[in-house]
Symmetry: D2
Subunit: 415 residues, 4 copies
């Protein structure tokens, strides 16, 4: 296939997941199989909407899954547990895809040595350099065994404790020195995943609030390797609604006095975020959106409560207290009852397809057109959802050209 | 003052209101006085936000109020009743502005002959031609007595029953024939207000769901007289939220299965809309937004319930039932607790200032850049709030030019 | 078995259901089998709570199901449809009980001739007298075939149009004359079910808003036959909450100004209640509770909206606007998201067990101690939930005697 | 007046408040004056309802107010601040009662020496024994100056830190030794108020979560002095609703899985409760009700967030996740938007009247019939609202006798 053909004919694409046995990853894998079998619609996928669906994206049939996790389980066990606790899979779906899921297990490495934040740095069984080698080897095997043209590495691991921001993280050389010096107090697994993925020529997506693509050292590496990447922290529920609603208050000059948010969830994410040191980064991502959209900082607390009985079903309640004409105080409340994994999984499919497309078209560096998918999009000031989404539309129109763009979802042209 | 100076130096502007003794009108008048006295902030006014505040708009000090109503009351009585029932005015405000309010009473004509829909056409005390003459004379007196440069007529009357759409309404000549023939079965007061305003050289804003600016005959008249106009049906509460939220479901490819809305309010608007024949037009305006934004029609009922104890405080509850990845069903609810008049009044100030600006700059016809203010914006297909609001931003930028535009509320530029 | 033994040793009990193929009936049957197989807990059953569980009630193993419906389906088909639409059954449950369910189908008669309200009275294939004979024969066969000691007939049919209240309905003789005269304009299927059940020596429970046990003629028959009965209209969701909350406002002297309720549901009940003539009785039952508990009548509308996507999952939203000290106005809202059949089914099991118990102990007439189960309990003025529930507790204590009563759920004794 | 006459003719009653310049106290005083002037109804007062209103209670005209506070302000200043921030008073009310309020200021002692928990024990200007003497002198002066027959002391101060439970608190003698030893680390102001009030022959009501009437030492004193008392922690909002709703889940055997409560408020109570050491006692009171009503302990967190813009208007949101028949999971949410002081003030009037009545009738010790007014009623196991309220009804009926009882609010008699 020559270059020009390749531009329009995507090959096999690998999605290699850090945290491959978590709820989101298993929902992503099972859901893709479900769509392949025609058992469910394409709901939730932005890449199926015009104009984005006009791009020559990799098809769902060409996706291959693999990855790494720290706990030894089978995908099937996780899927059964989701079925029982969250009822987002049907029995029929599980029965239909059981064999295919079983085969994917072989593509997932179990590497408990990746959990040094939890287990403590000292008792690690290998050096960071060795660890990176092991991960690189795994990714290479995945690529070769499956014959994939390009691998997109996605971070779906649990929230990590933040580490101090030292000058070494500003340069690739500095970062490599920290690695050589075994500075696990400064290096999170999230940083190692990003570093490894880029070294192996993979695109990288950081769907967590962990460190990674925002580090100057890693951006330097991505540009050197001519690879696209993006993050941080997928925008799936309460924050998504906030970034759609808060601009309304700004546009109508309604002064927000307080915007209080309460998130209740019962999955492992909820359990991890129960730990204040681990939720710090996530809360920072969630809290900044209001003040950055409004241009001032109202009282805006965000609480995350672990409520086990809810399972993967998150219930968020927000109270917005605001002031209008004559300084009269009014209020709005909303309750969001969504299933976290169901909301997150399709975004990863969308972004993996768009990452492969960017890579195939020789685009490297931060994919700002994916800003609408993240709570804290790297390098983008705009926090409002619609202007962010327009960046994706503009990207699609740029690639499609005027003649192919056709009818878009939104048109702002004055008649 | 020469032409060029006039362009940048707005003179006195009259706001002449049909329904001048309703809650919104009295809130508008009282609120303007409150701001003049420094008793309240500019909250709620979009024209105070960048970049719109960069335009040479008429100042609040240059506004003069007048109008017409069908029931004989004083502004002061209405204001006291709002104070008692809705608590949106403070005692101090009413005491401060009492004298000024008293003077405005003289600018308001009481014309019960305008209520033929309620009273029946036959027992009218004058012909439509005579009625139009009386209204024109009133507007002329208001303009001359107050020395205003330009009058903006605003329709804030109660919801009217719709009348059949006959071919005569498509041309100015046809409309004039219906007037001459006393066809009150086909002509609503709303049509008469629009016709009269345009004949008298006034801009026209239709904040109600009544007939007016959307009629081809009246658009013909506006263009002939080189006058700007816009409507219909101010977007203040539940529908506003809908047009900000529904696009989110579209952008994320979340299939809306049902979007049920319940509006509870206790003011005269609620009382009028209790009558199914009168709420038909309003419900049509409210219901269309969902299907026009989504591109398909989910189950989407809107109920309007009259709950007297709520007064002007509307409580709207919406239930959104939707389907995401793997066709999993999720839901969102919101409760909106706002004061109708407080939400509506500043929009009229905004639009009156922008109408006078358009008139001063020789712009005529439908002001599409005001689309974000209306449930059913004349001639605009786009129903989503943000693209509508961007039309206003683009208008401001066009007038300001690049050097003066400065920092806008939103910027969609990719970094 | 002698009399005294019989008193303490319940035999086989039949639950014979009018509307046996509706969602509630199929949930009741499937749920009973589920508990027998140990697949689900006894949640939802009051008869499993102390002190009621101290009574010698028939065990779940001794229950036998049968009944009649107007549409020809199998229980299995209905169960599969519930599984798909409402997800209240698991695949495993359906697979486990499939054979048992299949056997129950033989106990259900399909009699389209019972739908004269829908189909029109004239084209009936048989007289009312013939119809009653057929129903009696069916019940007799059910009793004999299954060797049951006592049959409880339960009405779970759809809401019917009310019929005029004529003097004949006040006496058994009058009612029999209406039957002989084929007065289908005055006689609903609900009346026929009650009449037939009592003639056949069955207890009768009316879980619908249809006519039945409240008719003087039928109460006369029940007393003559020495049979217990009760109704009307099971209290499962929004009304249940109302009768628990409204007394709080009364006790605290908080004046309720408005209590607005909106019920959204998508099952066949929702579809039937979409018809204003059919929902009249149900709305009357729902609306009266507030004024009867408070002793005055605030604005209290109840809306029932058919929202198909919700299936059996009812979402009710209530807004309570009230006035406290200094006449300050405050509000409360609640959202109830429950599954109608899941809430209703256990109440029928409870009441069937208690009906059999009453019959075995020679109690006849209205079972006032079941008041807490109904929106409109026959012959009971008290509408507040807790005083109603105490009637059940008192009943249990009366039967148990002081020594066996043990620890109750509630104790009001001052320490 | 002889004994028998006195029994039926209440004299002047003093309400002497610790925390007399807080929002609740000022609302209580202003509200009583408002009712005396006929400016507002008796809404919120249980003592105005049958059968309680049949008791010979002191009339509102016979109430006299006084007390103590730690911060030097005037009632008028506090009232103006409530007017501005919470809008629960009208301008007209404040103008009408200004003079009367001014006179009450003289009855309120400012004693900053009562704030040793905040200021630290060492720098106190007087010993505890001296402090108690000062307080007693103040109460005596209040009684004599106003010629009141009986004084009810009410604790309305802010939440205090708890102190360790030492054996000395179990006996009056031990408590007196702690006082003599200046053990401010073990003695809160709340304990001192209770001790002082009882020594001075006053009834005592503890409306806060602070220590007091639950101490064995103080109960010993009350019984010795033959005085009635009660507490702790007034039940005004979210907990009130919980104790009305939770029994419903118990009665219907609906297993509560999680009951999560979030309280947002912006008054000084909210500010104090922001401090984890101070909210401990209150949270304990709020959290225990669910498990004590249900008989098991579901996940049941209660959060208290300080949201300044809300002022005295508390917004509480509760999520109840429960399981019914077939173990199906369902949910209920409620939002409570009430004004804290408006809800609390009438309860104090009610209880002060009932305390004076109890005292006049020679009743001493804990007034269990006031259990329904408290989150944690001393010596009462029952947490459900209605059984608690029935204890008040039973008390009233006992005093009224069968002939005078008349129609009560609730009747549980089977017809």
């Amino acid at each position: 296939m020559n270059t020009s053909e390749k531009l329009y004919h995507p090959g096999k694409t690998g999605i290699w997941i850090a945290g491959a046995l978590g709820d989101i990853a298993v929902t992503l894998i099972t859901g893709t199989l479900s769509m392949r079998h025609g058992l469910s619609s394409r709901s939730g996928l932005c890449t199926e909407l015009p104009p984005v669906n006009g791009l020559s994206l990799t098809s769902l049939d060409q996706l291959v899954f693999g990855g790494v996790d720290i706990i030894d389980r089978s995908i099937c066990d996780v899927a059964e547990s989701i079925y029982r606790n969250s009822k987002t899979f049907s029995r029929e779906l599980l029965d239909t895809v059981a064999d295919e899921i079983g085969l994917i297990d072989a593509q997932i490495a179990i590497m408990p040595e990746l959990s040094w934040q939890a287990s403590g740095a000292t008792d690690s069984s290998c050096t960071l350099v060795q660890l990176i080698d092991r991960l690189r080897k795994r990714i290479r095997q995945f690529r070769e065994h499956n014959g994939v043209d390009h691998v997109v590495v996605v971070n779906l691991t649990s929230a990590e404790e933040s580490t101090p921001d030292v000058p070494e993280k500003a340069t690739l050389e500095g970062l490599q020195r920290l690695i050589a010096d075994e500075r696990r107090d400064l290096l999170t697994p999230g940083i190692i995943y990003t570093y490894t993925a880029l070294l192996e020529g993979c695109s990288y997506l950081n769907f967590t609030s962990n460190s990674g693509p925002e580090l100057a050292a890693l951006q330097e590496l991505a540009l050197r390797e001519r690879l696209p990447f993006y993050g941080n922290d997928g925008k799936t529920g309460e924050t998504l609604i906030k970034t759609a609603l808060a601009p309304l208050f700004a546009c109508r000059n309604l002064q927000v006095l307080s915007w209080e948010g309460v998130n209740m969830l019962g999955n492992s994410d909820g359990s991890t975020l129960h730990d204040p040191t681990k939720r710090a980064a996530k809360l920072a991502n969630k809290e900044q959106v209001i003040s950055r959209i409004l241009g001032y900082s109202p009282h805006a607390d965000v609480a995350i409560n672990y409520v086990p009985s809810l399972g993967d079903w998150k219930t968020a309640w927000d109270l917005i207290h605001f002031q209008g004409f004559l300084d009269v105080r009014m209020s709005m409340q909303f309750t969001w009852q969504g299933c976290d994994s169901i909301l997150a999984a399709p975004l990863i499919l969308d972004m993996a397809r768009l990452s492969e497309f960017a890579w195939r078209h020789g685009e490297s560096g931060p994919m700002h057109h994916l800003a609408a998918f993240f709570k804290n999009p790297v390098g983008v000031e705009e926090m409002a959802f619609y202007p962010q989404f327009e960046m994706l539309l503009a990207y699609a129109h740029r690639h499609l050209g005027p003649e192919k763009s056709g009818k878009s979802l939104f048109s702002t042209a004055v008649p």
